[in-house]
């Protein structure tokens, strides 16, 4: 049959145009808050960021200068400890739920993870206060790490589970069929196949807890001075931002903006770095 090319009707073209327009609008609306927040942070904060801000500890009111070096280092330490606790436990629980769990116990674990995900962060802070801070008799960086780590677990566990369930069973069979022991097949084939999504889940959890303030109030507590000791109170960016933002001093307000900008940059850099490092050697991109 000879093909006759007919002009597409005006209604169809308009409808097409309209829907493409709407989806572009939706995409822009999603980007807008992030752009606005980041833009405003840069506008307010960039002026106060200088070498002193990044290398000095806070100065008393009235003295110029001073910075958040101790809070930046403190946040990095707390987040590091939190990740050391939360990432392996979260991934482990996810692997259990997706690969090894059967019956009631797995449902219990899944339910617990979902409930834990919904617990207000301040409650996690209080719980860690009771479990770690009271026995230790003082606030500590470690307890802050524990609080953030606990908050990371459910998100990571559930995303790990979902990502593993998306790996086709034929992949597991292929690995077992080669005589690879079960544990190795799970870790180096199934988990590796799902690694992209698992890492995204871990990064989401990391980014979420990086800005948490409430659980740190009862645990890391904050500190105006240099400290690198895990068993002592330590400064953290969110606490410092909070303290400075509610103060009546203009100089501290400016520093709070700068601290918030640094916090966001820290998260973006960490997420980007993990992406770059973990994408090496994986073939997922040019599949």
């Amino acid at each position: 049959m000879p093909s006759v090319s007919r002009p597409v009707s005006l209604v169809r073209r308009l409808t097409n145009f309209g829907f493409i327009g709407l989806s572009i609008l939706a995409a822009l609306l999603v980007l807008a808050p992030l752009g606005a927040i980041f833009g405003y942070l840069v506008y307010k904060g960039i002026g106060s960021i200088n070498l002193a801000f990044l290398t000095n500890t806070p100065r008393p009111v009235g003295e110029d200068g001073g910075g958040m070096a101790n809070a930046i280092v403190g946040s990095v330490m707390i987040l590091g400890m939190g990740s050391i606790l939360g990432v392996p436990l979260g991934i482990g629980a996810g692997v259990y739920m997706a690969e090894f769990g059967h019956g009631r116990f797995v449902n219990l674990v899944r339910f617990t993870a979902d409930v834990l995900n919904g617990i207000p962060s301040i409650v996690v802070g209080i719980a860690v206060y009771a479990l770690v801070v009271l026995p230790q008799h003082h606030f500590s960086a470690l307890s802050g790490g524990v609080a953030l780590g606990i908050m990371m677990i459910p998100t990571i566990a559930r995303t790990t589970e979902e990502m593993l369930l998306m790996v086709p069973n034929t992949i597991r069979e292929a690995a077992l069929g080669l005589g690879i022991p079960q544990w190795r097949a799970t870790l180096q084939v199934t988990l590796r196949t799902a690694s992209k999504g698992v890492i995204t889940g871990a990064m989401l959890a990391f980014a979420r807890v990086a800005g948490e303030t409430a659980p740190l109030l009862f645990t890391a507590f904050g500190n105006q001075f240099w400290s690198l000791k895990p068993d002592q109170p330590i400064a953290a960016l969110p606490i410092q931002i909070f303290a400075y933002a509610i103060s009546p001093f203009d100089e501290w307000h400016r520093q709070a903006w700068a601290g918030a900008l640094i916090l966001i940059v820290l998260i973006v850099v960490a997420v980007a770095a993990v992406r770059v490092v973990t994408s090496r050697g994986s073939m997922a991109n040019n599949a």
Binding site: E173, A175, G177, L178, G179, N286
Partner: protein, 253 residues
């Protein structure tokens, strides 16, 4: 070198449904044996019982004995992974590991069993890919391209190479061509024919012409039972059982 198989009184279940009933069969070394039969007759389950893949499905169980070469596959205390290392398997749908390069796919069975000597791995990868007639097509992109970037037929030959790399004594193929076009199917059949010089091959197939083309012996399964097992030529030209005749002449299935 290939090994023979001897199966005695094999019964297999999924939950309460019995899918294999009293299978007794002897398969010769260095030969291709085809297993044919209608869908759901238990032929896939049968070969999955030979390398202990059957039990990886929840609620699956079996009774009876399987002897592959000098190995009693179901001897208490034997490790299933050791059995599977000696018995390679190629599946219905090509299933290369998607996040691994071609090289990593072929060497996976060796690497994940603890072999790490670079030179030996290189040699094994090249040898296996040559055996699977894929070397010339992929030798320049071994580490650049992922297994899943290949075409369907190439992927299946990659999976065959991956199975060959661990140097099994027996190769099981579960409808290896059912997802492939005729040209790729032809290549794989030619490959199967060459493999029997060094390996024993058991192939499940839906395609009777394929069985006739590649197999020395053919077994016909129906409703979980081995109805007839004979030289391929004999089974297709002068079957002794009425049900075999009905099936191969296309009266059912």
């Amino acid at each position: 070198m290939g090994v023979g198989i001897e199966v005695k009184d094999l019964n297999a279940w999924f939950g309460k449904a019995q899918v294999l009933k009293e299978i007794n069969i002897k398969v010769g070394a260095n030969a291709v044996t085809a297993v044919i039969g209608p869908s759901g007759c238990g032929k896939s389950t049968f070969i999955r019982c030979l390398n202990r893949m059957h039990e990886t499905i929840p609620e699956a169980r079996l009774t009876g004995s399987v002897q592959v070469g000098d190995m009693d596959v179901y001897r208490p205390g034997i490790v299933p992974a050791d059995v599977r290392r000696r018995i390679g398997m190629v599946f219905q749908k090509p299933n290369p590991f998607p996040t691994m390069s071609i090289y990593d796919n072929v060497s996976a069975g060796l690497r994940l069993n603890g072999y790490n000597k670079r030179r030996e791995l290189d040699a094994a990868v090249e040898h296996s890919l040559r055996m699977a007639a894929l070397w010339d097509e992929v030798k320049d992109v071994l580490k650049k391209k992922s297994g899943s970037s290949l075409s369907g037929g190439q992927q299946q030959r990659l999976c065959i190479a991956r199975a060959l790399a661990v140097q099994p004594e027996l190769i099981l193929m579960d409808e290896p061509c059912s997802a492939l076009d005729p040209i790729s199917t032809g290549k794989i059949e030619e490959l199967i024919f060459q493999l029997k010089a060094q390996y024993t091959v058991v192939i499940v197939t839906h395609n009777m012409q394929q069985a006739a083309r590649v197999a020395d012996h053919t077994g016909f399964f129906l409703m979980g039972k081995l109805i007839e097992y004979d030289k391929t030529e004999k089974l297709f030209t002068a079957p002794t059982d009425k049900r075999t005749e009905d099936y191969i002449t296309g009266r059912f299935g």
